[in-house]
Each structure stands twice: as C-alpha cells, then as structure tokens.
C-alpha cells in the first residue's frame, strides 16, 4: 500500500473537487432520499385522510392547526438562500486564498505530459475514450447526453412528483438518474482522477504510479474472436450482434419500466414516439457499462467494426 502515492493524488489542488464530490454526493443523495421517503409517508397519510389533505399546510411536518397553508418567498425562502450564498462565499474565498491555481511549467510541444488529463468535469468523457472510438466518445455520445437531457421533459408522461421529493411516484426516473449520473458519469470521473495514472494505465488505489509499469492490455474486436477477417463480414456480423443487443436490452428496459403498477399506468399514457425515444436513449446508455465490462473482463475492444465507424 503506497500511502505516499495516495496522499499525493488526494492532496493535489486539482483534485479537491473530486475528493469533495466523493464525500458530498453520497451525503446529498442520502439527504434527498430521506426527504423523499418522508414525503412518501406524508402522501400515504394524506391519501388515507381526505380531510387532512384539504387543510394540510403543504409541509413535510405533521399538520398543526393555525399554520398558514402557504407562505411568501420573501423573506422565508430568500433569507435562507442569502445565508447559503454567504456560506458559499466564505468557502470559495478560503479556498482561493489557501490553494493557488496549480500552474505547471511552460508548455513545450516537444515534450507533452502523459497523461494530459482533462479538467475534472470532463474526465468522464476522457475515460469514455478508452471504450469507444473518438468519434463515438467525443462527438456522438456527448451529443446524445445533451439531447437526452433536453428530451426528458417531453417524454416524461408521469404527472406527479414535480416540486417535491418523492420516491414512490418517480421510482423509474430516480433510478435512471442514479444509474446514469451518479454511477456512470461520476464513477468515470473518479476513475479518471484516482485510478488512471501515467500512460492512462489502470492503478488500484494505493498502487504506486510507476511510469514503467507494464499492463497486459492486448485487445481484440469481437469479430476477431469468431475469426471473421473480412471487413464486410465484420460489418454484417457487428450489425447482427447490435441488432440482437437492442432487441434484448429493449426487452429488459421494457420489463424494468413496467415493473410497478404505477409505471404501467404511466406507460399507458405515453405515445409511441415518446416510448421509442426513451427506449433508444436508455439502450444506448446501457452500452457504456456493457462495454466497460467486456473490455475489462474479456479484453474486447469493439463489437461492431465497420469501414466508417467502430462501436
């Protein structure tokens, strides 16, 4: 266990946000879910008691007579936001006084660093380059992420759960978010920061970042395993495999989506276009963890090799 190395990575000024992220994200996730569960309990209580539902003051706290049902934003919300702004200001100032921007030596085009790591918020994208070709990881996937985020309100047929924390009413949405953002995106950022060392090699935490380290990473494409050498053969083979994948994963996604009775109702409300769009994004998103797995477990680089792109 190389504590020195570990300390060097975690204490680098560059990595402060990631270390904070590792602590803060679980905390706020837990905090949000706690709130959601409390709301769920309240919803259950109000559903059981229509009288109370009429008079309840729209707070998570138990109902008290005389409490006003609605309160103005000013001052009750804004004063808390103001307080938060002050606290954040203090944190930012202390941070900027104590930690200087980590400048390095003058750029030398003849001597580039290895690895040249992206800013922390792009490390996930950089990590994706390991699993996809640059066209996919650099252009297609980021575009899909952005378009996918834009599309969410238009494919969301669930009328409930807006403006308050709830788990029961938005199980599928929350699970998808937790998987897509917390698990996939942030995990890749963390991998990019703490796991990828010199030469973008994989180092477990506590392992020394030795530039001379040797790793066994002789990769092959899926068609190679089936001894397909012809490029058209590979193209067709990959297309078939991808077709099978989309069929199977579409089924799995459908199964998961219609797991609960509530979601079945939501499904019934969705138009075909909404549904197929959602299916498309989800199955493509699922490609990422699958590729990570087959890459690390079976050393497979591409599934679908074509003269124009690789997947």
């Amino acid at each position: 266990m190389d504590w020195h190395q570990l300390w060097e990575i975690t204490s680098a000024p560059d990595n402060v946000p990631i270390v904070a992220l590792i602590l803060l994200v679980p905390f706020y996730t837990w905090y949000g879910i706690r709130q959601a569960l409390a709301n769920d309990r309240l919803i259950a209580q109000l559903e059981a008691d229509p009288q109370l539902a009429k008079t309840h003051h729209r707070k998570t706290m138990p109902w008290k007579a005389g409490w006003s049902k609605e309160i103005p934003v000013w001052p009750y919300l804004l004063r808390i936001e103001f307080l938060a702004a002050i606290v954040v200001t203090v944190i930012l100032m202390v941070w900027s006084i104590t930690l200087n921007a980590p400048l390095e030596e003058l750029a030398n085009p003849n001597l580039t660093m290895n690895p040249a790591k992206a800013p922390w918020y792009f490390l996930g994208l950089q990590e994706m380059l390991v699993y996809f070709d640059p066209w996919m990881a650099g252009v297609v996937m980021p575009s899909l992420i952005i378009v996918g985020l834009i599309v969410i309100p238009y494919i969301d047929a669930n009328p409930l759960g807006a403006g308050y924390y709830t788990w029961k009413q938005r199980r599928f949405a929350i699970s998808t978010f937790c998987f897509g953002f917390l698990f996939l995106w942030l995990l890749m950022v963390v991998i990019g920061t703490f796991i990828r060392g010199p030469g973008w090699m994989w180092f477990w935490p506590g392992q020394t970042w030795d530039p001379n380290n040797q790793v066994f990473e002789v990769n092959r494409d899926l068609p190679d395993l089936f001894r397909i050498t012809n490029i058209w053969g590979k193209t067709i083979f990959g297309a078939i495999v991808m077709g099978i994948y989309f069929a199977v994963s579409g089924g799995v996604v459908h199964k998961l989506f219609t797991w609960s009775d509530w979601n079945k109702k939501v499904f019934a409300k969705m138009s075909f276009l909404q549904y197929i769009t959602m299916q498309g994004f989800l199955t493509i998103m699922m490609l990422l963890p699958i590729k990570i797995l087959i890459r690390h477990l079976f050393r497979i680089k591409y599934i679908w090799v074509t003269p124009w792109f690789n997947l």
């Binding site: 003051h57 707070k59 706290m61 008290k64 007579a65 005389g66 409490w67 006003s68 309160i71 009750y76 004063r79 808390i80 103001f82 307080l83 002050i86 606290v87 200001t89 203090v90 100032m93 202390v94 006084i97 400048l103 390095e104 030596e105 003058l106 030398n108 001597l111 020394t208």
Partner: protein, 1065 residues
Amino acid sequence: MPDTSEKDPVITSSLGTFLVVSSVLVMLTLVWALYNEFFGLRPWKSYERDFAVRYVKFLRKQIPVQESAEKAILASPDYQQLDQQVKAAEEQVKDKSDETDKQIAILDARFSAITETFTTERAYVATQVYAIEHTSLDNQTSLQNKLAKHEAGPFRVSLPTLPDGKIVTGDYTFQQLQDEFNKVQLDKANMLEEKSELLRPVSELRKKRDAYLTDHLNGLTTEQMRGVLKKTQDASIEIKQINNPDAGIVDRCETCHAGIREQVVITAKDMGGKEVFVSHPEPDLLTLHDPEKFGCSPCHGGNGMALESKERAHGQYEHWLWPLHPMENVQAGCQQCHAMDMVLDHAPVLSDGKDLFQRRGCVGCHRFQNYDPEPELIASVQQQLLLFENQRSEAQRNIARSIQLGDAAPDNDTARMYYTQADKLRVSISDIDGRIEQLDRRSKDLLRDTKKVGPDLKEVRVKMHPDWIPVWLTNPHAWRPSTRMPRFRLADNEVKAISAFIWQSGIDAALPTQPQGDPVKGKESFETRGCMGCHSLDESSPHFAANLSRVGEKDNYDYLVRWIHNPRERTRPYCPFEKRDLTEADYKKHGLPFVFDLDHSKCPNDGHELQVEQETIMPNLRLTIEESRDIASYLMTLKTKDPSSYAKADYLNDPSLKAQGHALVQRYGCAGCHEIAGMEDEGRIGTELTKEGSKPIEQIDFALLTREAREQGWYDHKGFFEHKLAKPEIYDTGRDWKDRDPNDRLRMPDFDLKQPEINALTTFLMGAVESQIPQRYWDAPEDQRRDIQEGWWVVKKYNCMGCHQFMVGQSSRLMTLPRYQTPEWRDQLPPKLMGEGARVSPDWMEKFLANPAMDSKDTDRDGVRAYLKARMPTFFFSPIEIRKLVRFFQALSGQPMPYIPPKLEPLTDQEIAMARALFTSKGAPCLKCHATGDPSHDKFATAPNFLLARDRLKPGWARRWMLDPSMIAPGTAMPSGLFKPVGDHYVFAGPTPDIFKGYDGDQPELLVRYMFEITPDEQRRLMGMSADMLKTSELIRIQEPVHRLTDSRQNRMPSGPIAAKIAGR
C-alpha cells in the same frame, strides 16, 4: 382553536444567529484576503523595509569611520598643498567671476521680466496665424490686418538693464519683444561660457584635488556615502525590476537583494547576518555584464519574475526548469554564452570542468560541440569530396553531349551556344579540381589533428608484455591510480575475451633491437628535457600525461626507445579509404619502398591520404637515438617488479575468444579513446552532452532510484550528474540487476573522480543548456577575440601550459618542480609567452611552430634557445592548428593580422661604429649572454642569437624590451635599467663609449636597427672585439639584484590583465 403554543418553524424560527455568525465569517475572510493581498503574497515588502533599516544603520556606523580616514587624507600635506592651489586660483579670479555672476543675475531678471508678456503674446499670435492659414481667402486679408495691428503693440514692459540693473520701462512691438527675448538668452549663454573659461584653471585644480582624495581613500567618500544614505532613507517600497525586452529578460531579484549593486561593499556581517543583502562578491563581473542588459537569472538561474516566496523566486520548485544554481555550481551559468571559451577568467571551476571533459576522455564516448571535432569534420569533407567528384563526372558527360549537339546544330549560332556551354563546363571542371585539391589538403590536415585520448592498441604486440593486459583491464586504478583509463566493471571472462581480442587484432611486427643506454644520463635528460612538463614519476602530483614510474613493468624496451625517439612513428600506415593497415606487401605490389611519413602519405593502392602518424598528443622532442635509449633505460630502472611476475595469460591467443571480445570492445566503446584495428570508424557510444543540462528531467533515467532521489531531494540534473560521476553504475540497481543480462547494464566506467573534479564536471554539464537568451548576447565574437577563443583549444589540447606561462599568475608545470627553484635553473625555464604576439613576427612563428629546430637537417637542437636544456618539441601541428596558434598569439597581444614589418632606416657607417661600440661596451656586453653560434661560447649563453632577430622579432618590441624587459617578462634574465631617458630619447645608462659624443638620437633604436641588420660576419667581428670580456664568466650573475626585484614585483602583480581581455571585454 389554534394551538398557539407551537409556532410554525418556517415562519417563526430566527436565522439571526446564523446570519450574524456567517456575516462575521465573511468579514473575517475578507480581512484575511486583504492581508494576503498586501502582505502574504508580497513578502518582498518586508525584505525592502528590513534592508533599509539595516543599511541605514550600517551606513551611519560606517560614515564616521570613513570620515576619519578622509580627514586624515584631507590633513595630509599633499592634499593641503593641492587645496591651497585651488584656493589661490579661486582667489585670483574671484573679482572677475563675481562681476560675471552679478551680470548673469541681471540677465536672469531681465529674462523673467520679459517672458510673461512675450509668451502670452506669442500664444495669441500663434492662434491667429493658424486661423489665417485655415480660413477662406476672403477672410484672410481682414485677419491679417487684425494680426498686424495687434503685433504693432505697443507692449509696455519694465526691464532691468545692464550694467547696473536699472529698470527701464519701454514700449515694444511684438517683433522687438521676440528679438529681445532671444537676445537675453544669447547674452546669458555667452556670459556663462566666459565664466567657465575664467574658472577652468580652478576646476582643473579642483578635479586634481578631488582625484587625490578618491585615489587615496578606500571606497566611497563621505559625501557619496551620505548620498547613498539619503537615497536609502528616501527609497519607497516598490518592486525593483530589470527589464530588457530585447532579450526577454524580466528580473525582479533586486527587490529583495537590494544591496547587490551597491558600491559600498556589504557583507552579511554588516547586515546582521542577512546573506540576502550582501553586495555582489565579484563586482568585476557586473562591469563585464551590465545587469541592465543581462539581468540576473540568465546567469544565475531562478525565476526572475517571481516574488511570492524565496522558493519561487529561486525557481526551486517542481515546474521551474531553470532553478538557481547552487553556490558550488554557480559558474554553470557562464557556459551557455561562453561555450567557445576553453579558458574563462572568473570561472576557474567551469574551466576545470571543460578541461577535465577533454583530459579524462569523456569526449571519447560523449559528443560535445567543439570538442574533438576532427572526425566529424573529416566525414563532412569526405561528403563534399564525393559531391564534387560527382559534379565533375557529370560535367564531363555534359561536355561530350554539348559538343555532340554543337556538331549536329543546324546553324552557327546554335553551334556556338553549345560550344560555349562546353567551354563553360571545362572551366567549371578546373574550378572543381581546385576545390577538390583544397578539400584533400584539408582532409590531410584534419587527419593529422585527430588525436585519441588513449594509446594505439594496434601496437600492443610490439609494445606490451601480454600478461599485463588482463591485470590492467581488471582494474587500471589499482595499477596506476592517476591514470585516465577508467575502470570497467568486467567479469573475469570478459577481461579474458577483451584481452584476447585486443592481442589478436594487434599488428605483428618486429622492432629493431636497441642496445642499452645510460640510465644516469637518462635520468638527467628526463628531468631536464621537458618530459616533466606533462609526465610525472609519482602518484602524488599527477599531471597532463601518464605517471611513467611503472612503464617498465608493461612495455618493452625497444618500443620505448622508438616511442621516445619519435612518438609519431607508426608501425604501419592506415588507409581510411580501404579501412585497414597497409603492409609492406601493398607497397611492394606497386614497386614502392615501404616508406610512409608526412611527405609520403598517399596510399599506394588508391592514392588517398593515409594516417601516417600515431594519433597521440605526445610531441617529438627530436632527441638523438642515444639519448632516447638513455631515457628509456632510465625509465626501465624504475620498475619495481618484472613483467614476468604477472599471471600467465595463455588465452590471449585463443581464437575462440576473439568474437566475444570484439562484441565487448564494441559495447564498451573502447574505440572512442583507442585506435583499434577494424574499429577506426566506430562512433561514440554515449549520449551527446552538448545540451544535457536542459534535457527534460523526465528523459534522464534515474531508473529505480527515481523515488529515492525525489524523497532525498536530488531529483534534478545536479543530483543525477553528481551521483553518476561519483559512481556510474549507481542506477544499476534493483533486486535482479546482478542476474540481469550484462547487455542491459550501464556501460559508463568508473573514473575514480575526486570531489572537486566531480563538482567541476557537474558545473560544466549543468551549464550545458539550450540557452534562453538570444544568440547575439553570447560570447561569439567575429574579431580577434575569436582567434583567442580558438587558440585556447589548441593550447589546452597540447598542454602548452605545461612548459610555458601564458598569463601572469599562471605557473607552468615546470615552474613548480623542485629542480627549477634555484636561480640557475630558473634561467633554464622555457620562455614566458606573455606578449609573445607583440614580440615575434607571425611569419616566423609559423615556421618555428612547424619546425622548432629551424633546420631541416640538424634537428637535434632548438631553433631559438639552444642554451635551454628543456627543448621545444615538434608537435607536427597541421597548418590548421598553426594558423590558429599564430593568430592566437597575435590576438592575445592585440597585434593586427596580417603583419607588415615596418621599414627600418639603413645604418650609416658612423652609426654602425656606434652600435658596435655599445654592443661591446663593458657596461653591456650583449654577447656575454646571447648565443652566437660558436659552440664554445654558446655553452654559457642564456639568450637567443642576434642573427634570429631580423626574421623573428618586431622592431618596436625589441626596443621596448631593451628599455624594460621585466615589464614584459617578469623574472627574465635580461637586465632592466640599461637605458635612461634624457629629454625625448633614451641613452645608455652605463658609461657611454666616446664615439657617442654629439649624438642625440635614441640609442636603443640605434641598437634595434643594428640588430636587424647584423650578419654572421658582423657577429664574428663583434666577438673579436669583445673577446676579452667573454672569457670571464662572473658577469652573468651581476644582474642578480634585478632578478630579485622583478620576482617580487611579479608576486605583487594582480592576476590577469591578459585574462581579463580574454573574458571578452
């Protein structure tokens, strides 16, 4: 009923506490941020304040000390006298100067009285003129009228008037005002000039008086110090910056190092132990390199712009590529601009490093620009030769074609065009032939200049005792600690294989058997002929070349005799074209005798230039074969054991070892330093080091020590070099390195360097960087200073400084030997070469360097100083090196090249008679000491023959030499004070011969002219005239007191006026 006991927390809970606390926090961070901004990030402010306080305190203490010293000088009679003179002169002109002052005062008053009115009106007129120029034609006339009316005035002014300053009021027009305004100024200027003319004698006396003070006062005067004090007190706290946009230098070092350029010498002790405030320890360097131009960081390293902490400013953090040089390597900073300087004043450590790089043979494996350039130059010359030969044959083809085309041309014009073309090509061929000839000659010269660090290994069979080779290879330092041969970490089988390969690839030839010589005579010869200029006989004082005490334990006698007699003699010539050593058979084939030397250097097979000399620095002392035998016999007597006592090495002849040995020799790069058969063209095996100091640290292989180096703080260039030099195999580490394939191990051998040597080499390598400053700032002069730079490389290459003194303060090796400590033997020292360029004619020097015997047949002599036992050897310089040396000496003395001798007036008969009289006078019997060519007389001679003077000397120098030789060569045997000045010329200081009565010419000049005309007959005549004096021998030592005087003067002399010139002023 509303439950009033429990309030709605959202509405009722107070955030006051939180708000107050966080507001206080935000205010505190604001204060912190401000503090950080003004002080935390700007520690230099406290440095500046601290400096001001300490410096003021120091100056206050120092001023009274200086004041008392000054007072003593002021009270001295000399100063008083000067002061009196000043006062008297002042008194003399006082009335007149007072009068002038009064008039100037009146003029001043007049000027200020007129100024206000005039400038106001002038401003108004200017606006009107502008308006007239820019208005329509119609308006112009009216405006002009208006202006004219205004200019007519009148303007009433009251002006003080000369001579008594009475105020006169008058009316003026604008033009009159302007004239008056100009006139007043002119008058005042005239007055001032008059005054300064009046005061000139006074100010000159005052200057003399003040100069007396500064000359006798050590340091600044009190007044100047007070000025410094005031400046320091008034200094504001601000960043002090040197900015040279031309070179991209921005240095703020002086913000903290505030005292660095102070003229007052400040030591750390003066400043309460604060090193940061000291003044620069070598102010001379700052004079040579004006800090306003060069800044600080280009030489010293560091981040000149940074101010936020000492570490940042000194560049001692991970990402700054040019950290401050540590004190012991501070001279590294010189190298980037002074790469061409082999000898650098002010940088002895760096110069040592440069020297070691050559001497220890680093250059055998590592290329470094300017070092040992001959092999590369030869390659490039050969490339060019090839190119020209191609061009030549192409031209020849084209000639034939042009003629063909011309013959077949349809009309005369076309035919003529083709024939002209053919003619042009013919001419171009002759041009190419000329170039080829030059290149051939150059290649021959370069071949002669190619020297190897180590001996020729082709000769082992004729030279060595075979059993010694493995002993040597195993550990050369054990056998001879001071050797330059490094220790390779060889296993026993490797030693065997290499020995076998070397032995089997050696030339097998028989040497003539030499009879024994006389060791007693040999000892004397060895110690006096100049061998000791390079060689030593014990380990305590190793020098340029090998310690020869054990040479008898390895070499055979016959070879040693040949080597001493002529070290350049090869057993066989080497043909670089065929890449093999030629044998007698090659010559026989072509019916040629087996003779090869510098005059017979063409290959019989292909006509290419041969290597006919040993590639050794060792020169030929032109000793007779008998004397060579004596020396060899002497050296053989020094051995303490016989070569037969070494373990038998029968495997040397085992052919099965040869292939392995060859591979090993190749691997270890032995051919870098030695000539080895079949490996003449092997390249250098090491990495090039010219820019090693700025190689990115990532590319320097600390191997498994990377971590350790980082943790112990030597993960930098200095650390790498020092560890590598101290123990080259240090990076061969790790659990398995012993089992590792030997081919994977480091090859660099151990040199057993001492700590100062490691430091010198480290300094040199640290300085070997890609310079950040523009090339025009480097020391790469195009004028004579370039000749000096180039010359030093040759001087160092051949160790001329082993016998000669080039700079005052530098002593040759011979001068330090015990033998040369007595006056008699001091006269036997080889000549000092200070001012040599001013002394001798370059044409003569060229001949002398090519053949110091100055005679093609009788070579067992010294061309100039036959009386010296130490002998100027023949170095077999190529014309390239001779040219460099001649230019070097001329440049060192500031002599223009080419040299055109001044014309000397021929002597009249009367003058000849006078010169003879002086030459043979009792007061200065010149021929007493100067050689004449008569062997019986020359036995006692201690100075050169006058017959040489005409070709050898420059007349101006000869005259200066006669006037005061000790000024030119301190410690010379030539007596000083032979002449004394009388009026505008010099006369003989001794009893002047009668014949000089009535002669008022310059006597030394007369002698010079005589010297430059003297013939052998004339000399014999002189000898006859002074025969009686030449018999006694006491006179030679009469000059003893003079010697002593000049000796002590030499000791007092500050080092290096010549050296300072070299440093590139």
